[in-house]
Each structure stands twice: as structure tokens, then as C-alpha cells.
């Protein structure tokens, strides 16, 4: 069964520290992985997707098929990174539904 696991409900770091939000998935095939972010009082929005292989707001995520992971990383956290982060999975070519993790709330302290 397709599943996305975000093991941490809450992650708290200090400004300037590295941050890694973990995402593991279960899927037999070629998945597409996404990270979405929801800042306080804002709508949920796409942060990045593995196909793009780009860095957004200093965040990167690499798909590791061997470990079935898609961890989100940033070398130096900023206070404005505080938000709820969701990892999501779709089967390649599905073109419809996403399977969502439960989310990780990131708090970056001054």
C-alpha cells in the first residue's frame, strides 16, 4: 500500500542551525514526491518536487530510492521557515490523487 511517513510531529531548532525534516514512503514503482508548506495564516502551497531537483528558499530534497526517503534539508534555518511541512506522494502518471504524510511543524527559535 502507498504510504507516506513523517516521523516527527514537531521539530524545534535555533536560527542558523541545520534542519532536516524526514519523509519516508512506501510504494512499489516510480513515485513522484513533493514537499508542501503552510505558513501561519497562509494557504498550503507547493515548496518543491523531486522531479525539479531545484532549491527553493534554501531548501533541497533528494529522492533516495534505496532508503525510500525524501528528506527536506536546509543548512541554516531562518525564523521565517517556521511552518507546517507536508510530504506527499503520487504514483508516476497518476495525475490525480496525492498521498499525504501527517505533517511536521517546524519551529525556528531566535
Amino acid at each position: 500500500a502507498q504510504r507516506v511517513t513523517q516521523p516527527e510531529k514537531l521539530l524545534s531548532v535555533f536560527k542558523g542551525a541545520p534542519v532536516e525534516l524526514k519523509c519516508n514512503y512506501s510504494y512499489s514503482g516510480s513515485p513522484e514526491l513533493f514537499w508542501y508548506v503552510q505558513y501561519s495564516r497562509q494557504r498550503l502551497q507547493l515548496l518543491l518536487r523531486h522531479i525539479s531537483r531545484e532549491s527553493i528558499k534554501g531548501f533541497t530534497a533528494d529522492l533516495n530510492k534505496g532508503e525510500t526517503s525524501f528528506h527536506l534539508k536546509k543548512p541554516f534555518a531562518q525564523e521565517e521557515d517556521s511552518a507546517m511541512y507536508y510530504c506527499a506522494l503520487s504514483s508516476a502518471g497518476n495525475n490525480r490523487k496525492l498521498i499525504w504524510g501527517l505533517g511536521t511543524s517546524l519551529a525556528v527559535n531566535p
Binding site: 498550503l44 518536487r49 495525475n95 490525480r96 496525492l98
Partner: protein
């Protein structure tokens, strides 16, 4: 820019009332979705639609129905609201062939008293 608009930001209803949540998107997207967002439970899919008059149940369809009479509009209906339907409701849309990127509305926070 894609715009997904949910008709109400906050809504307070009584138990047993029929409740309509409306969602409109302006980018001609084929797919539209309704989610519930609850603390600790993430996003749970209620229903989605991939075309006008077409719908599929999501993970938690009980107590809900949907309507999609026009491509741009997707309505979520609570036939008889109950207190356990108090939640944040999110609407999203995506383009078929658009890489599965979903665009979200601002959400409707529904309280059922």
C-alpha cells in the same frame, strides 16, 4: 497565477443543518479536491472530481457529498452537520498532465455547534 477561492473563511452552523462549502478555480483545471485538515491527522481526502459530474470517494466520504456541475466549481455538502465535522476544509485543484501539482484555497474553518 492560479486562484482557488473558497466562498467562506469562517462558518458557524448548528447540528443537523445542511451546509454548503463552495470552491471555484479560475485556471480550467480538470481535477478538484476536498480535504479535511485536523491537528495530528494531516490532510484527509473527502472527495475528488476529475471532470464535470464525475466524482470519486476519498478516504473519509461518510457524511459528505459533492457536486460538480461546472468545471470551475466544486461544492462540498454536509447533509446533516454534526459536531465531529467541525474542522478546517481545504479545496484544491490540479491540471491533468500538470505534474500533479495541487493548488489550494485559503480554507474554510467550519464550527458545528
Amino acid at each position: 497565477d492560479v486562484k482557488v477561492t473558497q466562498s467562506s473563511r469562517y462558518l458557524v452552523k448548528r447540528t443537523g443543518e445542511k451546509v454548503f462549502l463552495e470552491c471555484v478555480q479560475d485556471m480550467d483545471h480538470e481535477n478538484m479536491f476536498w480535504y479535511r485538515q485536523d491537528p495530528g491527522l494531516g490532510l484527509r481526502l473527502i472527495y475528488f472530481s476529475y471532470d464535470v459530474k464525475m466524482k470519486e470517494k476519498g478516504d473519509i466520504p461518510e457524511g459528505y457529498s459533492v457536486s460538480r456541475e461546472k468545471k470551475e466549481r466544486f461544492s462540498l455538502i454536509l447533509e446533516s452537520a454534526s459536531t465531529n465535522q467541525t474542522s478546517m476544509y481545504l479545496c484544491a485543484s490540479s491540471l491533468f498532465g500538470g505534474g500533479n501539482i495541487q493548488y489550494f484555497g485559503a480554507g474554510t474553518r467550519l464550527s458545528v455547534l
